[in-house]
């Protein structure tokens, strides 16, 4: 396999940003029809490197070779001409335009000054068929789920005849099902001679799909690995630079009083349609109740309702025995609830505020941080300095704007804020989405520490592995209802997977295809 000719080579690439050495003489080689995995923690320099290959940044040193010849890439236009396509981590799609318009943008099929949407549409349909990329060319981007938007991004690259495809953390936003679909598409691409650089920090995926792996750590190549001879453990150690405990080591749950009781809850989604229907469950102190389920089965709405962010249409819920149905978020917070929201940038942080102020978003008005109507900046700064160190927020500068931090560090700020308070009930929604193994390990340990300190924890995650490794009980949500609650002993991957697909008991499984 490795005798295939190199299509893209990076030699000695170095990139400096003010105060940071983002890439330090990086070398890598991508061979024809192969997948090169690029692995690294948040901020290791993966995206910087890819942006240089795609012409968005200019390298300070080093050279890039395409098909053996050195090339000068001054902008995306040059990269596109060289057959390089990139699917960015944050999709570069214009919401209000259709799929066809997005695909043709910058490379329009025209006759005279006029667009030929019909021609472009036919080309898109042909590409869809060839690669199994099921997309409606006339749909508006804003109406499409992220999985489909990603396919549009891939079509965009193929439409420009890319034979080198860079996928920057393509699976971070996908459900396990969608990830499987993506892998199928990637294999179809490989069969047709496309070569792929696959960026991820999900070790399992790297092992499954890649032919070769390069690990970056702090801007340098930490080493290469052959996926066939590597394990998740060995890749994780290479990536973090120390041994990482992937398995969560936890003691038996010591259950206490009931802290959360939900009775016949009904909640609607944004369109006003029922998302949670007559849902009931209880949660005790000292245990973790994991909520598993394919995304979009009402988990988001359930969490928002419990956090006071979404109106409850029917039913009620109690925290420590007091009814909190339709209470305001502040009231819920003051009742001893910590909330790590699913969409950290929308609901978790004020991106334009500093780290220091984000750390007191739910307490700034209390005695510790304000005197009369004036906030006590010194107390807020002291608090921030302590938390930034304790929760290892990088860089540890409390006056940094939160929006400028990497995703993992933004999450650490939220976790620091929510976990450092005196919390009896913790609602954590997708707490480790998009984070690297080091950060995941850290957040998992914090969740367990909270549990052992006697808090009840509601953990919602679309990562089945995360639920299975942390939870003491697993509730599976399907179409707005809890279809089953399993103890962790009963909950193996297969059973939970069946429940996630809506199969209520195992005898039925035989009937399902």
């Amino acid at each position: 396999m490795s005798e295939a000719p190199p299509v893209l080579e990076v030699r000695g690439i170095t990139k400096r940003f003010p105060g940071v050495l983002a890439n330090d003489s990086i070398n890598l080689t991508l061979r024809r029809s192969q997948v090169l995995g690029l692995l690294g923690e948040n901020g290791a320099g993966k995206s910087t490197l890819m942006n240089m290959i795609y012409g968005l940044y200019k390298p300070d040193e080093g050279e890039i070779l395409v098909n053996g010849a050195p090339v000068q890439i001054d902008g995306p236009k040059d990269a596109i001409e060289l057959g390089i396509g990139m699917v960015h981590q944050h999709f570069q799609l214009v919401d209000v335009l259709t799929v066809t318009e997005n695909v043709m943008l910058g490379n329009e099929t025209v006759s005279g000054p006029f667009l030929r949407r019909d021609k472009a549409r036919r080309e898109i349909q042909a590409l869809s068929r060839e690669y199994g990329l099921d997309v409606d060319p006339d749909a508006l981007i804003s109406d499409l789920p992220v999985g489909v938007q990603q396919r549009v991004e891939i079509i965009k690259a193929l439409y420009r005849h890319a034979d080198i495809l860079i996928l920057d953390e393509p699976t971070a936003v996908l459900t396990p099902q969608e990830t499987r679909g993506l892998f199928k598409i990637m294999r179809a691409l490989l069969d047709r001679g496309v070569s792929i650089i696959f960026i991820s920090h999900k070790l399992k995926e790297i092992l499954e799909i890649c032919d070769d792996v390069v690990v970056l750590r702090r801007g340098k190549v930490a080493g290469g690995a052959d996926p066939k001879q590597s394990t998740e453990q060995s890749l994780a150690s290479l990536m973090v630079g120390r041994d990482v405990i992937l398995e969560v080591d936890k003691a038996e749950a010591r259950r206490g009083d009931e802290i959360l009781n939900v009775v016949n809850l009904n909640v609607h989604d944004d369109r006003g349609l029922p998302a949670v229907e007559r849902l009931s469950f209880g949660l005790q102190r000292g245990e973790i109740l994991g909520i598993a389920g394919v995304q979009g089965n009402g988990q988001t709405e359930l969490v928002e309702a419990l956090a006071g962010m979404r109106a409850i249409e029917g039913g009620r819920f109690f925290i420590k025995g007091e009814e909190m149905t339709n209470a305001s978020p502040r009231k819920v917070t003051e009742r001893g609830v910590g909330h790590v929201p699913e969409d950290r940038q929308r609901d978790g942080l004020v991106a334009s505020f500093t780290v220091m102020h984000n750390l007191v978003l739910c307490a700034y008005y209390q005695g510790a941080f304000s005197k009369a109507i004036v906030v006590d900046e010194r107390a807020i700064a002291d608090n921030a300095r302590q938390l930034v160190e304790q929760y290892d927020v990088r860089p540890p500068i409390i006056n940094n704007i939160a929006g400028g931090l990497s995703g993992g560090n933004q999450q650490k700020v939220i976790v620091a804020r929510e976990f450092s308070r005196d919390v009896d009930l913790l609602i954590a929604s997708q707490p480790t989405r998009g984070l690297d193994v080091g950060s995941i390990e850290f957040i998992h340990r914090q969740i367990l520490r909270m549990r052992d300190a006697g808090a009840g924890i509601l953990l919602v995650s679309s990562e089945l592995d995360e639920v299975l490794s942390l939870a003491d009980r697993v509730a599976v949500m399907f179409e707005g209802q809890i279809i089953d609650i399993l103890s962790i002993e009963e909950a193996d991957r297969d059973t939970v997977g069946l429940r996630m697909a809506g199969v209520r008991d195992d005898s039925q499984a035989v009937l399902e295809p």
Binding site: Y54, L97, L105, H339
Partner: protein
Amino acid sequence: MSSATKTKSSRRLAFKLTRKRIIAVALLVLGAFIFFESGSLDSELVTTLTFESRSRGEAPSVPDIPVPTSAYLLVIGLLFVVSGALNLIEFEVQRHRRISLALMALCGALFIPTVIIAAAAGNDTNLTTIIAESLRLATPLAIGAFAGIWCERAGVVNIAIEGMMLFAACFGFTTLFFLRGTALPLETAQLLAVIIGLLAGGLIALLHGWLSITFRTDQIVSGTVINILAVGVTSFVRREYLLSTEAGAAKLGNFAIPILSDLPVVGEAIFTNQPIFFMMFVMLAFTHIVMFYTRWGLRTRAVGEHPHAADTLGINVNRTRWINVFISGMIAGLAGAWFSLEATGSFNDGMTRGAGFIALAAMIFGKWTPIGAFGAALLFGFSDSLGIRLQMVGVGFPVQFLQMVPYAVTLVVLAGFIGRASPPKAVGQPYVKE
């Protein structure tokens, strides 16, 4: 935790204040008002809707429509009340809901004829004149709105339309004024004057681009600077060069569209008109086609919505913006030329009278689409022409009140039926390459 919370907590109100309900209440109040007012009118009053101006006794080529004023208002008042009441009820059955919504739309459509009939109570009122006047007065508003669309669709806020218009009105007229004494035929001089007007608008737009694209000044500030500058510079020019001789010049001449101008009634009222009036329709078609059917339009919209995405596809964001801002300025210049060269044949201080801002409002009401903006500009033009008309007829109502009503209704109707307008997402944000 911040913005989402606010919107969601309002949903907890038992009685939900939806847009539909607000309109329904407005209809109820208005209907009741019309209903009771109709009682105070003499039941013998008849408003006659005519379609052409003619001398007394001449036979009409299009028959007149007599409307018994008080009976008409009685019916309309009832219709408004019924429609308002129906729309306050949440119907379970889809068909009932559709009927009540259709009634609401009917009330909206009947509003303007009602204002005309009520205002003219007992007199003749010439519909063709009202329509032609509305179109004529809508000209600078519509063209100004198109100027706004060119700019804002590319992601640059343009509140400087007012200033660009004023510059164009001033320099266009100054050009004509100085060419008057030369051997140039009048039409050539006027054409040159309009072209200078366009260029004046375009040049000022380049200043806007320079400030807001190159130096990334806040686009609102840059626009405000231009508006203030325009007032100062143009009044200076007037005092120094125009005032001394007390200037007046020939307006742009009428132009008859072949064939169409031979039509009865509308041929004379609409299809025989001045050139910038016709340019309004040309610009409407041009803007619509460019924005939605050409490569340039697609790129412009992409740059205004998501400049980074456009950049990753090799589109030069700032170059696209520069060109659009320049075109926008020239179009605004055309609107400005209307004031001095087409409407009056003179230049006065501040003669654009805020039309640039009303044009912006029309653009927003029209949801940044040329056709929508044109419709909104027509509504504003209608309100202008109605005001003028009422002053001529001399009705008992305070004229200012009637003049105001169409604006108020525009707000309610557009907020209600058309919904929240969302601007291009990147509007107002300078593009910085990482």
